[in-house]
């Protein structure tokens, strides 16, 4: 079976040795210990596993690691420099846009991707753009508010 031996993650090159048909989620979590990327359903329904691949929100539970070799992957751990917060992360804190926090990394990366496509989205655009993400605690209105706050501060990165 074809193997993938290197991934570009969070601005650095990481050595791995993984079957190319493994999911990106599995490799990030099990091989690289980047567990900020969450398993929620494993079937693309909840988006807790969202990462950025070449800047675009991607469900890492569906994509095979072989398909992202050579592409730039950003996980929640690499969204901002160490000890700093990305404006979207800060906005989630400011809006209290979380309860248990399990969906939060995926939500934040989904929001970052959305703001790159649409720097000043309306509430309706946010609702449709983020509709793949599940927050079972029901913080959706707060997430919408956080994204609007980040947009107002030029939250795209």
């Amino acid at each position: 079976m074809a193997r993938v031996t290197e991934l570009s993650v969070n601005g650095g090159r990481r050595r791995i040795d993984a079957d190319s048909d493994r999911t990106l989620l599995s490799v990030l979590r099990d091989d690289l210990d980047l567990t900020g990327t969450k398993f929620g359903c494993g079937e693309g329904q909840c988006a807790a596993c969202t990462v950025l691949v070449d800047g675009v929100a991607t469900k890492s539970c569906l994509i095979k690691v072989g398909a992202v070799a050579g592409k730039k992957i950003v996980t929640i751990e690499g969204l901002a420099p160490a000890n700093a917060l990305h404006p979207v992360q800060q906005a989630f804190l400011d809006a209290d846009a979380l309860q248990c926090g399990y969906c939060t990394p995926g939500m934040i990366l989904g929001a970052v991707s959305l703001l790159r496509r649409s720097p000043n989205p309306s509430e309706a655009e946010i609702a449709s753009g983020m509709n793949g993400h599940i927050c079972r605690c029901g913080t959706y209105p707060r997430v919408v508010h956080a994204i609007r706050m980040a947009a107002a501060k030029g939250g795209k990165a």
């Binding site: 079957d19 493994r22 599995s26 979590r29 099990d30 210990d33 980047l34 567990t35 900020g36 990327t37 969450k38 398993f39 929620g40 359903c41 494993g42 079937e43 329904q45 909840c46 807790a48 996980t75 929640i76 751990e77 901002a80 917060l85 992360q89 989630f92 804190l93 209290d96 979380l98 309860q99 248990c100 926090g101 399990y102 969906c103 939060t104 990394p105 934040i108 946010i126 609702a127 449709s128 983020m130 509709n131 793949g132 993400h133 599940i134 927050c135 079972r136 605690c137 029901g138 913080t139 959706y140 209105p141 707060r142 997430v143 919408v144």
Partner: protein
């Protein structure tokens, strides 16, 4: 932890032990194991060591309800320190006092004042130490920002506690100053460990690893209750690194990589004895009536049905287990760590002190994580293979093998006088539960009964318990009665209650919603519902638009008024109220566990729909702050009003009374 061990484990300093016999009277979260050791008599303890960090130990856990934050506020209310110097150790059976569980919205009314009392006692001890050390009058001492000062003297908590080994036991009857005088409490303090959540740094159980650990999968039967006839594990056993565990009906595989474990599971060849299921999702409501343990209601009542629904915590059940000799440690996301400890002790026939359960802040529970399903599996497999074992449930395992909010059949009847006064009320709940069964309205005559029935599915606690079902039926039927006497549903409710707190939330919600000024339009409807449960009063108004072509409903707007006594953290309370409404929207509109032939038929999120961004209406919450009333919890009650408010709004829109949950089945 035994009393004599405290300073050995925690280091020197000062220690407050809060004694509370009443803690064992808390509502239980489910059946207890039979091997329960005599519980400690302490409700909480608080330690200050030479670092000056104030550490509180409580058996409560954090599942997103923000108890870690509110309990930090409880400390800061009595003991002025930088928030960063307050640490709350939660849900560790070796370190924290026994606790019945994070259940029944009890953290705020019971644990919160206890921790304040412990912090208040520690404050007095620090003042005593400072007065003694500096030989000054106690009245000259000032305490702020983690320091005590008097004239030229100054000492941090750590400097004052250093070298001490002073323990004070206090009864839980210590008085506390009233909410009107609160300094740190009553304010919108942000989530204390929110930063770890937004950076991905927090390790949930699902994320945890141990060196040398194996990933495990369990071979579940194809139907509930099916028994294993034969197993051929040869192909799985031949895979490198794979271990197979086979103990009676329990079959599991473990491997160094998760994918290998998945392949090994698929390679098992098992034959199961089929089971004939007693009911499916259609026949279950009559099944409840037929299996009722007491006499069913007369046949002429109005029947409502409530579907089974699933908790769907975004973090599925998970556990990491490790044995050292005859002692097991399990990390798991559970609302009842001490209950899980009992389950472990019972399964392995070991004393409770040989099992330690640690609960990291967990990816939600909603009443769905009261037991140790994944913990028992991980510990059992770990014992068999002699290595640490990780057992992470998949989403479909979670949907099939967790327990559910009970389904129910509810039969109701009532009579009203021409002026709208309810004169008779009869209400029978089969299987769904007794919480919220009693009407909060003034009823001249009432019969309210819970009928225990057989459940074809494994069922248990859920946010709000049966209060959601009972409020849905009661408030829908209140609407039926109001329309029968041609009274406005708001006026009808106010006519039938003298409870000032209930009236206050009804009026607050109606005012904010502009109920009296509502504008009727084709296919548009407005509904109202109210109730009381677990110390909280709620009233909910909803506006809906019906789609004439599809018959579906769009909820446009919801206004919720909520009152649970003195508000501890307004923003977090608002967050809970909104979250309850949104979670309740799912059970109101479309969530329904479908089952037949002894299995769940919708185990994937594309078949079991939960609320998403596009489903969410405009939500406005009105929080009534009653500083004269002791704070109650808010994690559950706000969920109960949304379903009947929507059902009543649908009737208002199209004259169709839907007597089932979910409404859009």
């Amino acid at each position: 932890m035994k009393r004599r061990d405290f300073f050995g484990v925690l280091g020197g300093g000062i220690l407050v032990l809060l004694e509370d016999d009443a803690i064992y009277a808390q509502e239980t979260g489910g059946p207890r194991g039979g091997n329960q050791a005599a519980p400690l008599e302490l409700g909480a303890w608080l330690h200050i060591g030479d670092t000056g960090v104030v550490t509180v130990y409580t058996g409560k856990v954090e599942v997103g309800q923000n108890a870690r934050t509110s309990l930090t506020q409880a400390v800061l209310e009595e003991l002025a320190a930088p928030a960063a110097n307050v640490k709350i150790v939660m849900g560790d059976t070796d370190l924290t006092p026994f606790d019945i569980g994070t259940v029944g919205s009890m953290t705020t009314p019971r644990m919160w004042p206890q921790i304040r009392k412990a912090a208040a006692a520690a404050r007095e001890m620090l003042l005593d130490l400072a007065a003694q050390k500096w030989s000054v009058d106690r009245t000259t001492l000032k305490l702020a920002d983690g320091k005590i000062t008097s004239g030229a003297h100054t000492g941090t908590f750590g400097e004052l506690a250093k070298g001490e080994k002073w323990t004070r036991s206090i009864p839980s009857s210590v008085p506390l100053h009233a909410a009107g005088d609160w300094q740190a409490a009553g304010k919108s303090v942000p989530k204390v460990n929110g930063r770890d959540m937004v950076t991905g740094a927090h390790k949930y159980t699902y994320d945890m690893k141990k060196p040398g650990m194996l990933h495990a999968k369990v071979l579940y039967p194809p139907q509930f209750g099916a028994t294993l006839i034969s197993l051929d594990a040869a192909a799985a056993q031949a895979m490198p690194g794979v271990k197979v565990v086979h103990e009676g009906n329990f079959v599991a595989v473990a491997a160094p990589e998760h994918e290998t474990a998945v392949r090994a599971l698929a390679a098992l060849k098992a034959q199961w004895q089929p089971v004939t299921a007693e009911a499916d999702d259609h026949s279950v409501f009559q099944y409840f009536r037929q299996t009722s343990t007491n006499a069913p209601a007369p046949a002429n009542l109005t029947a409502y049905t409530i579907a089974y629904i699933a908790h769907v915590p975004l973090e599925p059940r998970a556990a990491l287990a490790e044995w050292e000799g005859d002692r097991v440690t399990v990390w798991t996301g559970s609302q009842r760590p001490f209950g899980v400890r009992s389950e472990l002790a019972q399964l392995f026939g070991i004393p409770e002190e040989k099992a330690r359960v640690i609960v990291p802040d967990t990816g939600s529970g909603y009443g769905g994580k009261h037991n140790g399903d994944a913990a028992l599996e991980a510990a059992r497999i770990s014992k068999a293979v002699g290595k640490p074992v990780k057992r992470n449930w998949t989403r479909d395992e979670e949907m099939m093998w967790a327990y559910f909010r009970p389904g129910g059949l509810i039969e109701v009847a009532g009579k009203t006088a021409p002026d709208g006064t309810i004169t008779e009320w009869e209400f029978h709940n089969y299987n769904s539960g007794g919480s919220g069964l009693q009407s909060p309205y003034s009823l001249a005559s009432r019969k309210e009964q819970f009928h225990q029935s057989k459940s074809p599915l494994r069922q248990g606690s859920y946010r709000g318990l049966a209060a959601t079902a009972n409020h849905f039926v009661r408030e829908s039927y209140m609407d039926e009665l109001a329309h029968a006497v041609k009274m406005d549903p708001l006026e009808f409710r106010l006519k039938n209650t003298k409870d000032e707190r209930l009236r206050a939330v009804i009026i607050a919600a109606a005012d904010k919603f502009n109920w009296k000024g509502r504008q009727k339009a084709p296919l548009k409807g407005f509904g109202i519902a109210a109730g009381f449960e677990k110390g909280g009063y709620v009233a909910t108004c909803a506006e809906v638009d019906m789609n004439a072509d599809t018959g579906t409903v769009k909820v446009r707007r919801a206004v919720v008024a909520f009152e649970c006594g003195a508000i501890v953290n307004p923003e977090h309370l608002r967050n809970q109220v909104e979250g309850g409404v949104i979670m309740g929207l799912g059970g109101a509109l479309f969530e329904e566990v479908r089952f037949g032939q002894g299995k769940i038929l919708n185990t994937h999120l594309k078949e079991y729909r939960v609320p998403r961004f596009a489903d969410v209406p405009v939500i406005e919450s009105v929080l009534l702050d009653r500083k004269d009333i002791v704070s109650a919890g808010s994690g559950e009650t706000p969920i109960v009003g949304i379903a009947p408010a929507i059902g009543n709004a649908i009737f208002d829109a199209n004259g169709r009374r839907i007597r089932r949950l979910p409404l859009m089945s």
